[in-house]
Amino acid sequence: MSITREEVAHLARLSRLALSADELDRFAGQLDVIIAAVARVQEVAADGIPPTTHAVPVTNVFREDIIVPPLGAGVVLDQAPAAEQGRFRVPRILAED
């Protein structure tokens, strides 16, 4: 198991991380070590062992369908970098097609 520099670049793009060439090299090496360490788990994971999702084996944690009063638009928009017409204002999403 090893991770290539191209795969790191791909992940960086999906994650919207601007990595320099140096960083790509460095992280590829570091990630490789991490993945190799995790891969060792697979050596001992037999068919009978279910995958662990949580440190504590808990299922079915639910909340009843009851309203908790929301914050309200005033409080929420006060924290926003920009707001307009009671809504969050965000920069242009897509360029002209």
């Binding site: 999702t53 299922t59 639910f62 309203i67 929301p70 009671g86 965000v90």
Partner: protein, 507 residues
Amino acid sequence: MTETITAVPYDEAIARYEPLIGLETHVELGTITKMFCGCPAAFGAEPNAAVCPVCLGLPGSLPVTNRSAIEYTIRIGLALNCSIASWCRFARKNYFYPDMPKDYQISQYDEPLCTDGWLDIVVDGIDFRVGIERVHMEEDTGKSLHVGGATGRIHGADYSLVDYNRSGIPLVEVVTKPVPGTGTLAPVVARAYVTELREVLRALGVSDVRMEEGSLRCDVNTSLAPRGASQWGTRTETKNVNSLRSVERAVRSEIERQAAVLDAGGRVIQETRHFHEESGLTTSGRSKEEAQDYRYFPEPDLVPVAPAAEWVEQLRATLPELPSARRARLQAEWGLSDLDMTALGNAGALDLVADTVTAGATPADARKWWLGELSRHANESGTELAALAVTPAQVARIAAIVASGALNDTLARQVLEGVLAGQGSPDEIVAARGLAVVSDDATLLAAIDAAIAAHQDVAAKIRNGKAAAAGALVGAVMKATRGQADAARVRELILERLGQAYPLRDP
């Protein structure tokens, strides 16, 4: 948007190609609160009034699953003949878009709650079993308003405004298996499937299933293969299909477009396409290649959902009579033909007639009012039958008054007009307008004698055996009694009066 291809006429396309369709339907659940927080999920609040740290994706907030949303989803799965997973998890679907403030959507990926079911539909007397691949849960996104630019669309907008009220509302996605063998009926089958699914969801009471408000949204997959080919073609996914009619049109227009691409020796590209309501056409959206890498992984903030068999059986016991079973039962009870049932369904009158019958009317009377007078009203005012300002109970009451002999049809129509105009209940209108059939023969005879006196020529014809002429006198009497006489009784009395023994009838 620079596609210049000329669509192939539908019949020609179908003659050469075999269509394969599949549908993904998103349903907003009608829970009181959101999927992972206690914010109200109702439609129509002021922008950003129904948000909290969880559905805004603020750091440090943690989701907790809404029990009702899980129960609704299991009930949907059961109604669609699915298996319910005994253990499943939520997953993070990672992508960046301002309407999703966490930068990931909590969804289900390889472990859906419900799998492998079916929904039966009938189209043109042919049975189709639409396989259900999966029913899974996810959360809805916020709503964006695009400002600036020429079209008000996202492309070329200067900036966008986001309302997160919808963010985190529980969504269920129902994914069909590919539906083969539909041939020329493919667009109609697609529509019939969504129609029936909507009926099932409505019967379950899990969603208000309003397509125009976006609580039920469809993505339609279409592919074509040359007839006799051993492999299916490449499919496209048409989004933004927000009415039943559009589902049908979207499949149709994709078949016509793809046939043209294939005819020209081209290759259909696997892509997302957008449906345009005005033109009925689809245009290319973004290609899926890059966008599909969502880096799904199990949601670490939520524990697995593991419905015990007893819980599932309890929920199964809450399932209502499903629409297909109900239709079959009503058809038998009412003694209707397939054609009559279809007409009721198409008119959107089935529930109204059923409720009217429940309120005491005969099936025949209930159908007569809803498909006759009330359908005419709905057509004239351009509304749905169900939106008319009259309840099934009121229609049943009017039918009961007619059945008692206190009103005739003419007067009953006047009462109905009054109800529709908001003047009160049928009984109030009858009382207020003094409407009643004149059943007192002495009063009728006085009016009849006056009519005979005024129309001596007509009376002479009747005396000479021409019973058909009685209509003119009946009309005169009805006019004199302001429609409040029983026309059949008036006719009898006229014929008797003029020496034509009852029960003389026109040939």
